[in-house]
Amino acid sequence: MPGGEVTISTTDKVQVRYALSHEQVLEFYKSHFKASRDIKFRDWKAETYIEDQGALPWQSVRISKGQETVTVTITRDSWTWILGTLTLRFIGVFVVLLFLYVGMSVSGAIMSRLLAKAD
């Protein structure tokens, strides 16, 4: 988004402050990415999080929820996010199967006891 005052500029991150409302900045990004299928908007309590799930050179744009000034943080690096989410999701697969394991073990034990009683 043009204009604004750059407050941080590193190889991984750019932060810009705008003297605009959150709605105005959000409207700009929404119209800019209207045609893109790989952009997801998430409405969080303190900010709006825009995530690229395609192949754009940036990973996320965060728009703080201010009334008069808004900070927009553009993060270039997606690797922290990718590795973090992949690790979590791999653990998630274990958790799903672990729950199934517990469910099967418990039901197996109950069934064995019931059958033993019936005998």
Binding site: L83, F90, G92, V93, F94, L97, S107, L115
Partner: protein, 381 residues
């Protein structure tokens, strides 16, 4: 009739043929189609799918054939129709899962539920390949759909790819089914590399008998837990568990029989030919399909290694050791990879019967791959 009228007629007739629109790309695609038909017919590698896929590739790679597009009035062509309702609507993979559920005996998994963890460990390659695929220049959604190939579960691969990256449906499905057929070639060297002779000789205790009540209860518990934890994948797993309940209840044998045979056979035809038909020369002849085949192989290898390593870690804590050769069966490819475990076990000890033990992680692999697919769908929703 004048000579110029005859000439016009001849030229007009010529332009209704496909000859004038031929290009070098079509013979290349015919060669690819013949290669998969050769694998199916001569080598008998996954013939039920590679034959219709191969022929689907062959059929659509002629100029002007009205098979995979729309008429001027917007009516879908024949295979486009199958593709639209079967794959775009994600119906066929779910119906195939219904049939698979009806064919599956969960007894070995119920008797030894800790093998479920092997099925989870064998998903390692799915996540590792995701990273490699992103590095190779694919988008995140494409990377997820390529990563799932290593799970060695065709319907799940198709389901996830159609969901996230439909443009890769043909190469992904083809890579998944090709490598599933090549499990006996891919897995043994990795199994030898990651296990010691002593480990390969481990004999496992015979599995306990499983009661009918437990078998009936399993699809209900399984569906309930998966629905709560990974709801995104319930179209697949719900159908899978329904098929299994139909089988185990014993009260709807006609339905179970139809799901196992007639229904699965019918949808397999439409699935194969539709997947093959997505591979038109204009879309397929690029660097991406080649990379998908390369990454798919790495994926399979890492998934196999993940299953074996999970068993090794589990053995550190278990009194009754598990033979790590059954870890490789944690990739789905039911029952091929379980057979590979049995074959490898018998190579070192003729009286070591690992097949039923390997069926546990094999079935866990199906659930694990579906769970991983659910994780990816959730990631992008």
């Amino acid at each position: 009739m004048r000579i110029d009228e005859v000439w016009d007629l001849l030229v007009g007739t010529f332009y209704t043929t496909g000859i004038w629109a031929m290009s070098w790309k079509y013979p290349v695609m015919w060669a690819i189609a013949f290669f998969f038909l050769y694998l199916a017919i001569v080598k008998k590698f996954e013939p039920l799918l590679l034959l219709p896929i191969g022929f689907g590739i062959f059929l659509v790679n002629f100029p002007l054939v009205p098979l995979m597009g729309y008429t001027e009035e917007g009516v879908p062509h024949l295979i486009q129709f199958f593709y639209h309702y079967g794959l775009e609507w994600e119906i066929i993979p779910c119906v195939i899962f219904l049939g698979l559920g009806a064919m599956t005996d969960f007894g070995p998994l119920i008797a030894n539920p800790k093998t479920l963890l092997i099925g989870a460990g064998a998903q390692l390659g799915v996540f590792v390949t995701f990273t490699g695929t992103v590095l190779a220049g694919f988008t995140l959604k494409e990377a997820a759909s390529v990563g799932i190939i290593g799970g060695a579960d065709g319907p799940t691969t198709i389901y996830l790819t159609q969901h996230l990256a439909p443009q890769l449906l043909g190469p992904n499905a083809l890579a998944a089914y090709s490598y599933m057929a090549m499990v006996p070639l891919i897995q043994p060297p990795i199994m030898r590399l990651l296990t010691t002779r002593e480990e390969r000789l481990i004999r496992m205790k015979q599995l306990r008998p499983v009661s009918k009540r437990e078998r009936i209860l399993f699809p209900l518990i399984g569906a309930g837990i998966i629905a709560i934890l990974v709801p995104a994948v319930m179209p697949l797993m719900g159908m899978f568990m329904l098929g299994n309940l139909m089988r185990e209840s014993g009260v709807v044998s006609r339905l179970s029989d139809t799901a196992q045979n007639a229904l699965t056979n019918i949808v397999t035809i439409f699935l194969g030919v539709s997947v093959g038909a997505t591979m038109h020369a204009e879309k397929f002849l690029s660097w991406k399909p080649l990379l998908i085949f390369g990454l798919g192989l790495v994926d399979f290898a890492v998934c196999t290694a993940g299953g074996i390593l999970t068993v090794k870690v589990m053995n550190l804590f278990l009194k009754e050791k598990i033979n790590p050769l059954i870890g490789s069966a944690g990739v789905s490819a039911v029952p091929m990879s379980a057979r590979v475990s049995q074959m490898m076990g018998q190579r070192y000890d003729k009286k070591n019967y690992l097949l039923m033990h390997a069926m546990g992680p094999n079935l866990a692999g199906v659930i694990g791959t579906a769970a991983a697919a659910g994780m990816f769908i959730a990631m992008f929703s």
